[in-house]
Symmetry: C2
Subunit: 278 residues, 2 copies
Amino acid sequence: MNTATSLPDLSRLCIHTITTKSWAIETSVAKFAAAGVKGITVWRDALAGRDVAQTGRMIRDNGLSIVSLCRGGFFPAATSVDRQKALDDNRSAIAEAHALGAPLIVLVCGAVPGQSLAESRKQITDGIAALLPDCQASGVKLAIEPLHPMYADSRSAVNTLGQANDMVEALKSPCVGVAADVYHLWWDPALEAEIARCGKLNALFAYHVCDWRTPTIDLLNDRGLMGEGCIPLRQIRSWVETTGFNGYNEVEVFSTRLWAMDQDEYLAQIVQAYRDFV
Amino acid sequence: MNTATSLPDLSRLCIHTITTKSWAIETSVAKFAAAGVKGITVWRDALAGRDVAQTGRMIRDNGLSIVSLCRGGFFPAATSVDRQKALDDNRSAIAEAHALGAPLIVLVCGAVPGQSLAESRKQITDGIAALLPDCQASGVKLAIEPLHPMYADSRSAVNTLGQANDMVEALKSPCVGVAADVYHLWWDPALEAEIARCGKLNALFAYHVCDWRTPTIDLLNDRGLMGEGCIPLRQIRSWVETTGFNGYNEVEVFSTRLWAMDQDEYLAQIVQAYRDFV
């Protein structure tokens, strides 16, 4: 089977709530379901003021699978008090994921400007290790998301898939894997090899798609919809599926430009871009 | 000798003309020399409308060394006609460097949005190989500058020092080495090892400094002056000097913010930042 072909249907299409962030989660769920989308990744802000377990039931009642909860992480901090606060917040996220019925939490691992990356990487590994009993008790898994090197100052000291795989190996737990996002990883000359290695580690837990625009005018909120940029999406998906991955293709787009358009029209464009380019 | 200490004097301080780009090169040369700066890297736009050889003499007469000419490169293109144009332009740059008396050209290697990075990397290697006879004839060397992964779409498909070292090994020419810029490389977990490898290849031709600000608000023109950001400058310089490198520390800052201030005051800040943070 040639995996690098167009996707026949929407059965593996997941959309992150942040992608259509102006919609309340109830609206997103109804609209996604009506459009034939089958998965949703829930950002924690979308749960504010809601009964989490009830929201989980609402999502499943609409025929959507909950793919993951975004996000935990931000382990590094200058003081042990702040590192403990980060652990407490991650434990709250694990409890939320359990209540929601999300099997996975995506970790944006964190970094502290001016603290050495080596120290932040150690604090990240230690932080994840400290959460493993909670994961085992709740059944919620953790996915380390390597972030683009342009976020190494303050968002994540884990900047390549190779580093994430190294952490997975060091942590030796079936609860810990990787979320691979094309936006962060597409440039890496080691990408194909590290995707294969991640697969061999049984650690490829999630796959996120969007695109890289030229020019990119904002470091955070100028992602492209699939097809608007230069990321070789079909090639990367073929590498991902060669590992045996058959999970969701998750559309995670932060874009001031796309958030400003009519969101119903945008959802239709997402579905079309998924068929044409993922 | 502990290399990671403050620099005793300005004998290894070089400033790029683009750093104070509102100044004509004659002004930059006079001001740099008066401030005790010993090296200058000349951007090609600074030579527009001037006799290049005479400008070279003017620089040397003011007591400054010409460290390099910025920049050649941009080898990849969709058509062979455009790749030939790129070679022609690089040959012009080599002739300019020779006339100016610059021993080195810094290469921003190029990338084409939508063309595979693997293909662009091959075109870069082929392009540099085609220039080697010109380098041998003129005595001008070439430095591959790996660029931050956030420029992989359209500016350079060479995004790590490891890749640049691989190219140097493949090209096997004493004319080809590397320009290592902390802005592009600081995040890389392999940086210390790849600097050491670059040294063993006798390929560490140039070292550029600036800083990474948090937040960075523009992908191109929001670099920090040394000390304004999170790059571990002393640590990276110690790795560089451990290889035996004793060339210039070149201040290359693109900053809308710093370009807008009084440039005399800015030059004084550069000199102070060099003493305090490089």
